[in-house]
């Protein structure tokens, strides 16, 4: 099941129809791209250029937005800046042109790092536990199997804010508020339902005969699982992992409510850049670009695996 599939069911369309269809789809795609291209460009504008009217398509690119994103600055009098001596670096010089001096690094790198740690940590746990559970459900007679599988799926229908209140209280009791571990556990739980369902689908497709042959050859169940089943699941595990990673990377509500300083991820932080720099749109655009770029690259590179996950549920037998 992929959009790249060429098995068209509607009979072959005439060249003219294809041509018109192509033009319309490409027009939609181009319009949908405008916001993203615009944000990317804004990251390279100077603050005055970013609020020029009419909006500027042609402008002199500058790295000011990126410098502002990664630093904190304070406004100084020209006399004070002149007394500092020559600037130490190109970004020093860039900031001084606006009558400011760099006072230190911003918290963007920390927040980005948190996003990476929490994203990969929770993805690893969700895929690891999900693989085990999926194997258990796929291969063994588990009592109440269908009920348990439905229970796992139903946890996904819960509105996040409804569970956010008790989780907030629970984490406060356990000292998990504002810790990376707290968010990792939470995202693992949210991703687990998808992970178990997706991976069970993949394991169901691997013929049991392989493992049975291994068992006859003297492997134990565990050895058969590790040496025979796991290697064949590689594609499925990769697809599931991408999904979990994107969810954790993008999540906002829990991150906003459960973290404030130490463990805050990038999504609740990026909007704060607006306040920090006084409507510093190029810095916001720079942060947005750096945050969204990995996902865009992922989407383009791994589109076929993604499609399997997105249409999952609707196209399952």
């Amino acid at each position: 099941m992929s959009a790249a599939s060429t098995a068209y069911s509607v009979g072959e369309a005439s060249p003219r129809v294809k041509w018109i269809a192509g033009i319309l789809v490409i027009a939609y795609a181009l319009v949908a791209l405008i916001p993203l291209v615009w944000i990317f460009l804004t990251g390279f504008k100077s603050p005055p250029d970013s609020i020029a009217y009419p909006p500027e398509v042609l402008f002199t690119p500058t790295l000011e937005g990126y410098v502002n994103l990664f630093t904190t600055r304070s406004r100084q009098t020209p006399e004070y800046i002149n007394s500092l001596g020559p600037p130490q670096s190109w970004y020093d010089a860039l900031v001084r042109e606006r009558n400011m001096v760099i006072t230190g690094p911003s918290r963007f790198i920390d927040r980005y790092q948190n996003s990476v740690i929490i994203g990969f940590g929770s993805t690893f746990l969700a895929v690891f536990l999900g693989t085990l559970a999926a194997y258990g459900f796929s291969r063994f007679k588990v009592p109440l199997k269908d009920d348990l599988m439905f229970f796992i799926l139903s946890t996904r229908m819960m509105p996040p804010i409804a569970v956010a209140i008790p989780i907030f209280l629970m984490y406060r009791q356990l000292g998990l508020s504002d810790t990376a571990l707290g968010l990792i556990l939470l995202y693992t739980a949210v991703n687990l339902s998808l992970s178990v369902w997706l991976l069970k689908g993949f394991i169901d497709e691997i013929p049991r005969e392989y493992e049975e042959a291994a068992l006859v050859d003297g492997y134990t169940r565990l050895q058969a699982f590790v040496k025979v089943v796991l290697p064949q699941m590689r594609a499925g595990i990769a697809a599931t992992a991408i999904f979990c990673l994107i969810f954790s990377w993008n999540e906002y509500a829990f991150a906003l409510l459960l973290t404030s300083g130490e463990a805050q991820t990038a999504p609740p932080f990026i909007p704060l850049i607006i306040g920090e720099g006084g409507l510093d749109w190029p810095a916001v655009a720079a942060g947005t670009t750096l945050f969204l770029l990995p996902v865009v690259i992922f989407t383009v590179l791994l589109r076929n695996q993604l499609l399997r996950g997105i249409t999952f549920g609707a196209v399952r037998k």
């Binding site: 099941m1 959009a3 790249a4 599939s5 509607v10 009979g11 129809v17 294809k18 269809a21 192509g22 789809v25 490409i26 939609y28 949908a32 791209l33 916001p35 020029a52 909006p55 536990l129 085990l132 559970a133 258990g136 063994f140 007679k141 588990v142 348990l148 229970f151 796992i152 946890t155 229908m157 509105p159 996040p160 804010i161 409804a162 209140i165 008790p166 556990l185 739980a189 687990l192 003297g218 169940r221 565990l222 994107i246 990377w249 993008n250 906002y252 509500a253 409510l257 990038a266 999504p267 609740p268 990026i270 909007p271 947005t288 865009v296 992922f298 989407t299 249409t311 609707a314 196209v315």
Partner: protein, 316 residues
Amino acid sequence: MAVGTIDRIAERAARITPFGAANRMRGLSDRAIAWIFIMPSILILLAINIFPLLWTVYLSFTNYRANQPGRPVQWIGTANYERILSSGDIWGYLQVTAHFVVWTMLIQVALGLGLALLINRGFKTSSFWTTVILIPMMLSPAVVGTFWTYLYQPQTGIFSYIIDVFANVGAVDMIGSIHLAPWAIVIVDTWMWTPYIMLLCLAGLRSIPAYLYEAAEIDRANGLQKFWYVTLPRVLPFLMLAVLFRGIENFKMFDMVVELTSGGPGSATELASINLKREAFESWRTGYSSAYAVILFVTVFGLGNIYVKALNRVKS
């Protein structure tokens, strides 16, 4: 050492015993493995999903306030529920939510189905452009909301500029106007999630066997009839499922709208989830907002169930 020797003996014993017995002797039994594999997942889901939900239900019958942990907690029965349902405010927020859900679904279904039908014509490079169209739905909703506030700026934003160029109406204040803000969030959601509806429609279209069209051709059906009698019945289950998933998500919508309008101006875009968050984490009326959460949950669940019944009727 000892373990190694035992292992080797077991190994040898296993070789000469029949398959089932060997399996039981060496290592863990299948039943034990099954439970060891499944239990961690079930426990995590119980601890982080089910237990909190039950706790929410309990809290909804109390006057607990999370910002005053020392205060004695009183059981106040259904007082919270009575207060919410009789105050009338919630209906306003539910109306705003309904406006958002209904319009996003209508527009996205029209656009998504249209795009899927076009892509299904199979023009050259269609797979590349499908991927391009997908990009918005993979992005973080909160970050999308943040950068759309920039695009929507009335004096300087590109959205206002483009509208002005085509319609010549001057500056358009999408997020500052009570009348336009509800549409501002509909537009951003449509930009993000039309690809999802499109994808599921595409999956539906690809599932239609060619012989159905051939049969329709023999019956001399015209294009419209083929669409109405062959395409639509086959795509509808997929389309309705997509609407179910997105409808539930949009009923719970929080992140994108918080960053875009934070519920304003006034309460023009105050969706139920946003208001719930305000009650729970700004006013700290924990018991009250737990009851609020239960009401919203029951509403989603109820509407979802009715919808699934309709879906099953369409399928059969």
